[in-house]
């Protein structure tokens, strides 16, 4: 995307002009990636307002409630951040494979199976009274590894057998959920809980707490950190460069001697680990056990977030927070405006469609087209 690795190529002239024009090039070519999505958001807001008017409801009230419920009070902001925490991680699970040209939508399965793995491995450790910190390390390792394998399978099948990764990762999601249900309703079931099949609870002492001073769990901090790290990995390292080359043209990449297969599988492993980590936090920060509540659709919402962020790890952060805010305020909208829950889905859907359509606008406005910026991918 906005790659500025070689500023010297941008222009040739006196040093000061060079710097100046390079700066303008950077600003103008980056601005396209900010102005167009904002424009698309405004258009979807407008379309949604028409929808509300057709229902006889006030769009102003709606946006006021979204603001109040999602961002207006200290409670609302924490509510929003809490809801965006899993979305950042599951969006990363889509964005990283997307960089190498894969439409991988199996984050939900990796989250569920990763969360289940960390809950399952915690049980003997909790029984043996291993200190919480060590237990968490093992849980994280198990969750991330199992999640990584889950998406990795789809990546491997893509590379080795040419299996469509979108279909296989989606199907693996259902297998993952079924595997968890099999154990949770069978050998690992907590028999003291006759009405909701779950694994044994890990107990309060083993719960990953909240970020001090807030009501938000550590999954948010880890998600932010990973988004920044992965952005660095994808835009500032040879690995990231090789991934983008392979994503652009796998045959050319192969001809260049790039290990495309390894790159594909690595991207999928990273993606799965992110989703598995989200599963770990669902277990260790929220549920305290693995059960069907892990299947909450975070993996699927993550797809939306990643697409809206144009698979840019850094852009995932604001988009995930925006989504978190919309979901957080959805309840207030339901309660105050007497609108059904699906209203918020309509807004999400409209936003998604308008943003996808807005993709066609890139490169069409002269104002963003600066000579020398054209070859920036």
């Amino acid at each position: 995307m906005v790659d500025v690795a070689e500023p010297m190529l941008a222009s040739r002239g006196s040093p000061s002009r060079e710097w100046q024009s390079d700066f303008i090039v950077r600003v103008r070519s980056s601005a396209e990636y900010i102005v167009i999505p904002l424009f698309a958001l405004a258009v979807s807001g407008l379309l949604f307002s028409l929808f509300l008017l057709a229902l006889g409801k006030s769009p102003l009230t709606f946006f006021e409630l979204v603001n109040r419920g999602g961002f207006g009070t200290a409670f609302s902001i924490q509510n929003t951040l809490q809801r965006s925490a899993p979305l950042i991680l599951t969006a990363l699970a889509v964005a990283i494979p997307a960089r190498i040209g894969l439409v991988m939508i199996g984050g939900e399965g990796a989250l569920v199976i990763g969360g289940f793995a960390s809950a399952a491995i915690a049980i003997p450790l909790v029984v043996a009274k291993v200190p919480p910190f060590l237990t968490w390390i093992v849980m994280v390792a198990a969750g991330a590894a199992v999640g990584a394998v889950w998406v990795g399978i789809a990546g491997f099948l893509r590379y080795a057998r040419g299996v469509n990764e979108t279909i296989s990762s989606l199907l693996l999601t259902y297998i993952g959920i079924a595997v968890m249900n099999f154990f949770v309703e069978g050998s690992l079931r907590d028999l003291t809980n006759p009405n909701k099949p779950s694994t044994m609870p890990i107990g309060d002492n083993y719960m990953v707490g909240k970020i001090p001073g807030t009501d938000v769990h550590w999954g948010l901090a880890v998600g932010l950190l990973l988004a920044v790290l992965l952005h660095f990995l994808m835009s500032r390292t040879t690995f990231g460069f090789a991934v983008r080359v392979s994503g652009g043209n796998p045959r050319a990449a192969l001809a260049q001697g790039l290990p495309v297969g390894k790159l594909i599988v690595s991207c999928c492993l990273i993606a799965g680990a992110c989703a598995g980590l989200a599963g770990f936090f669902e277990v260790a920060a929220i549920q305290g056990r693995a059960n069907a509540s892990l299947v909450a659709g975070y993996g699927f919402t993550g797809i939306l977030v990643s697409f809206l962020a144009r698979h840019n790890p850094l852009a995932i952060i604001p988009v995930a927070i925006m989504f978190g805010g919309i979901v957080a305020s959805g309840g207030l909208v339901q309660r105050r405006m007497d609108l059904p829950d699906a209203t918020v889905l309509v807004l999400q859907g409209l936003t998604f469609v308008v943003l996808l359509v807005s993709e066609t606008l890139y490169g069409r406005f002269k104002i963003f087209q600066v000579q020398g910026a054209a070859d920036r991918t």
């Binding site: 006759p194 069907a292 309840g331």
Partner: protein, 367 residues
């Protein structure tokens, strides 16, 4: 037209009385603006569990001074905790009713600790005085009693003596409904057997339709179910031309020809009780439960599928349940031949909440 005859004196009297009332009882003043927050796991019009609650909330809203704020489709994750907190913080809710099983632990338990002045009540028998905060509690209805009534009626409506039961998961509350339905059917028709198919999850519409068709193909001519939203089962059975008994809320509109009756919760008894307690400034009970004897469950009005005999037998059986006549008269064997219920148990006996077997008379397996 007495109201129009308002002199200055009567006006002053009235205002003064109002002020005194408001001053003397802060509880009453508070009750004038009681806000109750209700959280549902699915849509409010699902013809099932959520609708049953929503119907009760609608009744609650008609009471003066009660404001109810509702939120639907809230998953059993921290989303439910946040929705409830939002009701407390942004709507000023004084009672929060969580209607889905998974809301309780850890979410409502933690919230009750965090918001000590707000009353939290949850729709499943999970509250434990020794472990949980005092501003938390449970309420639930013994729906198996209403399924028993379904059985009593169904036993007299079947010709093939085969009754079909589409069930979600083999957990205690589901098994209790199946067993009670069978015992009801046996009471009026000793030859009746109940054939059960578990779909494996609470909401699997395709598999529910398949299970219904399979049961009808196997000769069942009355179908009932225990899944989240019985719509698919009831509609499929109606299409196949067999009779149906409902579950959770009234599905009578879905089966104009074959509907016999259905097992329904009567949550408004409990909800109105809470509202009344708050209005009087009384502490809300921590545990509210019961069946016919306390008016917490009911059966849907008889549909076209119910024969005259079935109606009479069911009505008589309701009177029996109101008089606390036991359903589980021991000794009873499971369908593998082991005695699992050695003696007669009271309808609300906790022993029956731990059911993990299908009784003799039920065809099917929980493993």
């Amino acid at each position: 037209m007495a109201y129009l005859n308002l002199s200055r004196r009567t006006f002053l009297q009235g205002t003064a009385a109002g002020l005194v009332a408001a001053g003397s009882s802060s509880h009453l003043a508070q009750a004038a603006g009681v806000t109750i927050g209700i959280v549902y796991v699915g849509p409010r019009d699902d013809f099932g569990w959520n609708q049953a609650h929503a119907v009760a909330v609608k009744a609650l809203k008609t009471l003066p001074g009660i404001k109810a704020v509702e939120e639907e489709n809230v998953p059993e994750t921290d989303a439910c905790a946040k929705s409830m907190e939002s009701m407390v913080n942004l709507d000023g809710a004084q009672i929060i009713l969580g209607t889905s099983f998974g809301y309780f632990d850890p979410f409502m338990v933690d919230l009750a600790k965090k918001y000590a002045k707000v009353e939290f009540r949850h729709a499943a028998p999970l509250w434990d005085a020794s472990k949980h905060p005092k501003n938390l509690g449970s309420y639930f209805g013994y729906l198996n009693q209403a399924h028993y009534i379904d059985g009593v009626a169904a036993g007299l409506c079947t010709k093939s003596n085969k009754l079909g039961f589409v069930a979600a998961k083999p957990i205690a509350s589901v098994l209790s409904n199946i067993n009670s339905f069978m015992l009801g059917a046996k009471k009026t028709n000793p030859n009746a057997v109940v054939q059960v198919i578990f779909t494996g999850d609470w909401s699997l519409p395709v598999r529910e339709a398949e299970a219904t068709n399979a049961l009808v193909d196997a000769g069942c001519d009355v179908i009932t179910c225990h899944v989240d939203a019985p719509k698919v089962v009831i509609e499929t059975a109606e299409k196949r031309g067999v009779k149906t008994c409902g579950h959770n809320a009234s599905q009578a509109p879905l089966a104009p020809k074959g509907f016999i009756t259905g097992a329904e919760y009567k949550w408004e008894t409990i909800y109105k009780g809470y509202a009344a307690d708050l209005a009087e400034g009384k502490k809300l009970p921590n545990m509210t439960s019961g069946g016919y004897e306390t008016d917490m469950v009911r059966n849907s009005p008889f549909g076209a599928g119910a024969t005259e005999k079935a109606r009479n037998a069911a009505t008589a059986a309701m009177a029996d349940l109101k008089a606390k006549k036991p359903i589980y008269v021991g000794p009873l064997k499971d369908n593998k031949g082991n005695v699992v219920i050695a003696k007669t148990y009271d309808n609300l006996d906790p022993f029956l909440d731990q059911m993990n077997y299908l009784l003799e008379g039920v065809v099917g397996s929980i493993t």
